[in-house]
Subunit: 317 residues, 2 copies
Amino acid sequence: MVTIEDIRAAATRVRDFTVRTPLLATRWGDERRPLWIKPENLQPIGAFKVRGAFNFIVRAVAAFGDSLRTRGVVAYSSGNHAQAVAYAARVHDIPATIVMPRETPAIKVDATRGHGAEVVLCAPGERERVAAAVVEETGGVLVPPFDHPDIIAGQGTIGLEIAEDLPSLDTVLVPISGGGLASGIGTAIRALCPRAKVFGVEPELAADTAESLRQGRRVEWSVEDRNRTIADGLRSQPSELTFAHLQQVLDGVITVSEKEIRAAVAELAHKAKLVSEPSGAVALAAYHRGETPQGRTVVILSGGNIEPRMLAEILAQ
Amino acid sequence: MVTIEDIRAAATRVRDFTVRTPLLATRWGDERRPLWIKPENLQPIGAFKVRGAFNFIVRAVAAFGDSLRTRGVVAYSSGNHAQAVAYAARVHDIPATIVMPRETPAIKVDATRGHGAEVVLCAPGERERVAAAVVEETGGVLVPPFDHPDIIAGQGTIGLEIAEDLPSLDTVLVPISGGGLASGIGTAIRALCPRAKVFGVEPELAADTAESLRQGRRVEWSVEDRNRTIADGLRSQPSELTFAHLQQVLDGVITVSEKEIRAAVAELAHKAKLVSEPSGAVALAAYHRGETPQGRTVVILSGGNIEPRMLAEILAQ
């Protein structure tokens, strides 16, 4: 299991490559639950994923030395992890191969190539197999999207910063997909602010973790079911490793509707002056459900990579 | 004239009340002019104006003591200064009266009242006279929008932070309206990074300062002319005090078209994940004109208070 010492070590590793995001106090929350926002959309590539990617790659450089510049790194992702790995690899002058499903929007493929990565397109559902084949062929190092202690510790640096900026916090709300972000932040908050509650947030349409925690075991939802949500970054499911963390660090999971997610994207633009992708807005949506305890509440805005057309459409409503 | 010591003292005064905004490195600028953004839209009330307002009011509290809680503060503004003064006064438990022209959009009047201020509506062009009458009647202290050393020093704290975060910068681009922001930032940068160039930015439709600096004296543009620009926060003109600063600290003024301003608002949303008002986006618009020297360039995003309908309309284009 990842410890607070792992997270502190990660903070030292990623410091030069990521933004120390401010914790923004709002004045428009519920009076009994004053609201702060942690804007991870301000990271390079527009999402928290750089924290885990840099922590993993800095450690891999230390472990493999110059040979990593020949072997390269490999990742499979259709979203922010792809760009995060491509960016972190380029900063370290390491070749990156990113495996993406053929249906990935061109804008995301182009962004990943824009960071200097080689993109390999594959059939849907074949990502892991194709990535394994690339690893086999090139000797490259696979950077998993969440299922690794170095990724969890990297994402956990967010919790470290929150605890520094608002040690008296009462509640944190964190989006859950594969669970790396919530595992890391939860571990940091449990260690540094043991009185505080940590809640995960999922779309109702991809609420596999809420169900899994209720049942005490990982419950599988079909890809078709999970793909219904507009929150395209929240369609993964926890691994054994992240689920074990979530069982230890979460006080519960709140689920939100598609309508609530859209409203939160609009609210973040108008009131916080921040552009959020749907997946990045779920924690604010959950805050408005009013199900969390009274007291100082922090919501994680995890990313801002929304299609321009979708943003315009949501703001026009 | 305001000095770097005044600005350092202001930084100590405003620290507890304002956001230490990060300086965000972008990866989408011109290669020869790497681009950083200073996101002042993340301040409370959504604009840099809180820095000057807090510096002024903290000094006034020290000077007037408890009597300020009876006398109160007074300001005239239809924009961000109104909300900044209302907010800073409420934080210090001081009554605030804000004089606004009757045509001010309801959303701004409501926001100012929402911060606890009393709003006095007046005929267009009567703001200063009505504010003077309120001061006469209440014994309140007038908080000017830019024409005061404490306001200039407060806005200058932005320059202090930029110099701390990127001491090797080559160019800064700053919006100009009344000139308080550019006077303060320019003073800080001249003192701390004497090699760097500081450029003001104005809409072509409100380019009175560009003309004034060329002529070496303050040139008046009519209110009707200045009101043509979409950048409603940039329709004021420098005072003697700010013009004297601008003559000393600016290397030039760049003017931008209405179309360029709108494009910069859209670009900030899509690429920087930040919501900007038109006035807040002019520095990025100026950057794209390519008229500034090569080297590390910082643009000030001064505020994010855009009408929801205008934002939706610009992003739909």
